[in-house]
Symmetry: C2
Subunit: 371 residues, 2 copies
């Protein structure tokens, strides 16, 4: 078995845990934040930089790579690891979320989803569970995601239930399509929108498909944070303890802390790199907008005490100058800082769990952090 | 004396030379190509990357840094070397060329040039020779340039002469303003447009102000290449042999080769980084447009035999994918490659000169190179 998950420690004070997920491309210590390399590149960064800030695993997007450059090209290159020169684990999403959020036209049936590409003159494409797995197998990710239908928090409960049922039906097909490889594992996704009964049912019927990991989808899509936390609390006892739980699309510091407290082990989000390019630095005291004129002659590092390349070497004044001048290197420096900031956070979380004081840590974190 | 230039070798076959320019921030071996870091950053690259590709000196733009972040900010940071973390030599231009080429409004008098900033709502600024030197002293560049008036090749000879005279008048003032520092040296600039008589007169009257280097301005601004080469040939015997000659704004491979053949020692241009971001790779066989569909599954390096980070590690297919997807890392990889390609070219030129075979080299270069 090339995949294995072990719980290394459960915090006596909070119940949060540290774990270790083994994959063919290496071991991931959880809780973990996964930076996003949508198109086979973490925007603006080299693989060396992504590794140097402490990233253990990347997420890449099936939908985007299917459209550009095409999964066949990536396969011909020897797979995504080789194409992009990242030798640690990769998780690919299923494309489900993007089909729903990025396509101008889409038609969902039980068979799959037809959609118009935003690129090639609106040409129609069709992704089914089988197609999604075929693409993910061509990409060669370590962790594949089941093809799912994600709904917005403002749809009716009836619609949410339909999407949940379809997700379960598609899960069965994703699962079958994913058989026959030892180098890739499939994570099923719990859906059910913000409805307790649906989440419970989805969890119960999804768990049997989870072999070495399970994901929570359909959250952080517009609902208030307390609602997300309520769903995580509901799911915590329902999901298997012997595998990692991956909360999809979450990457703010406060949500990571709240997520770990509610049993989540894995997180991903474009947030750190997206806001970096816009001039925002993530710090343990909250976000800083480096465009602010008050940093014009501030020759201190972006975050005191941070050990990243940006903070070791450059000043707020210089980063502000680059950002206000639309210089690419500014977004690059802040991308390095922001990813490092999340990795430092998870390192602190792990230490607190190891020392049975994660409950105290959460309190102190929120004393300092201004959302 | 903190500045010194020595000719190390003159090629018996071609008369081209190798030299060594000593500055307070290190030695520059000539012929040299200087990458441009307009706003205190070579677009998309870190200082480490610029150094790793073999850059010995950077050019930075006085006009841009005066407007953003302001030379006083850079001075407060400890100077441009410290602000941007580049510890090798820096050359700053005078702002003259930018005032003429980038401002929507400008009014030139003998006093200086009033212009409207393209940034701060069109606010008017005034740069005189003294102001230009004041800014360059605040930036702390090793090599400062005299404030000059550059004309387009389509102005009348009368206009060209007026601008030449004004440049000479301004040179005297730049020179006086630049006295009193041992850490910065001033390069005067020969103007005279494409007129032989003006170039000769400008050279004759400019040379007395040259102490450790002299520049040729007003070329590569729209005139045909043979006209530029004719002007360089005219100037070659008129300029002092005991100091480096800097041909401003030139950075294509063919022009560097032709320039060295005509006595030029220093070059700068935004070309390698600008075309990189647009997807063009510079190679010894000519430019490659990586957007071309034929590279979609081309898993060879951008240039066979190149030792840069891009060519050592990535394929044309991957770079093409990044470029066609507007991924920043694509422009970054090609910027590294293109600067390295020019440094490899000057290294080959130096070897050929050292071995008295630069004439042969030029022939072989043009057999291979397709402009």
């Amino acid at each position: 078995m090339k995949f294995k998950y072990e719980v290394l420690k459960v915090c006596k004070q909070s119940g949060a845990r540290i774990g270790k997920l083994t994959t063919p491309h290496g071991v991931i210590e959880t809780p973990v934040f996964m930076p996003v390399g949508t198109l086979g590149t973490v925007k603006s960064l080299s693989p060396e930089e992504v590794e140097e800030v402490g990233s253990q695993i990347l997420l890449s997007n099936t939908y985007h790579l299917y459209l550009r450059p095409g999964h066949e090209v990536v396969k011909a290159a020897g797979g995504l690891h080789r194409f992009m020169r990242w030798n640690k684990p990769i998780l690919t999403d299923s494309g489900g979320f993007q089909v729903f959020s990025l396509s101008s036209f889409r038609k969902v049936t039980d068979a799959g989803c037809e959609f118009a590409s935003p690129l090639d003159g609106g040409a129609h494409h069709f992704i089914s569970p089988e197609k999604s797995i075929e693409i993910q197998r061509a990409l060669g990710s370590d962790i594949m995601m089941a093809f799912d239908e994600c709904t917005s928090p403002d749809v009716t409960e009836k619609k949410a239930k339909e999407a949940m049922e379809r997700t379960l039906y598609w899960l069965d097909r994703s699962y079958k399509a994913a058989q026959g490889t030892e180098d890739q594992i499939l994570f099923p996704i719990v859906q059910g929108n913000v409805h307790r009964a649906l989440r419970e049912e989805s969890a119960r019927r999804t768990v049997p498909y989870a072999k070495c990991g399970i994901a929570i989808g359909g959250l952080s899509v517009g609902e208030p944070k307390p609602v997300m936390y309520e769903m995580l609390e509901l799911l915590n006892p329902l999901l298997p303890k012997d595998m990692p739980r991956y909360l999809m699309g979450v990457g703010s510091m406060d949500c990571i802390v709240e997520g770990v407290l509610r049993g989540v082990d894995m997180f991903d989000c474009v947030l750190p790199t997206r806001i970096a390019r816009n001039g925002t630095a993530m710090t343990l005291k909250g976000d800083l907008n480096l465009r602010n004129a008050k940093y014009k002659e501030d020759f201190s590092p972006v975050e005191e005490g941070c050990d990243c390349y940006c903070c070791r070497n450059y000043t707020k004044a210089y980063v502000r100058h680059l950002i206000t001048s639309d210089e690419i290197f500014g977004g690059r420096l802040l991308s390095i800082h922001n990813i490092r900031a999340l990795h430092r956070l998870t390192a602190q979380i792990k230490n607190a769990i190891a020392e049975d004081r994660f409950g105290d840590f959460v309190k102190r974190f929120f004393d300092e952090y201004q959302a």
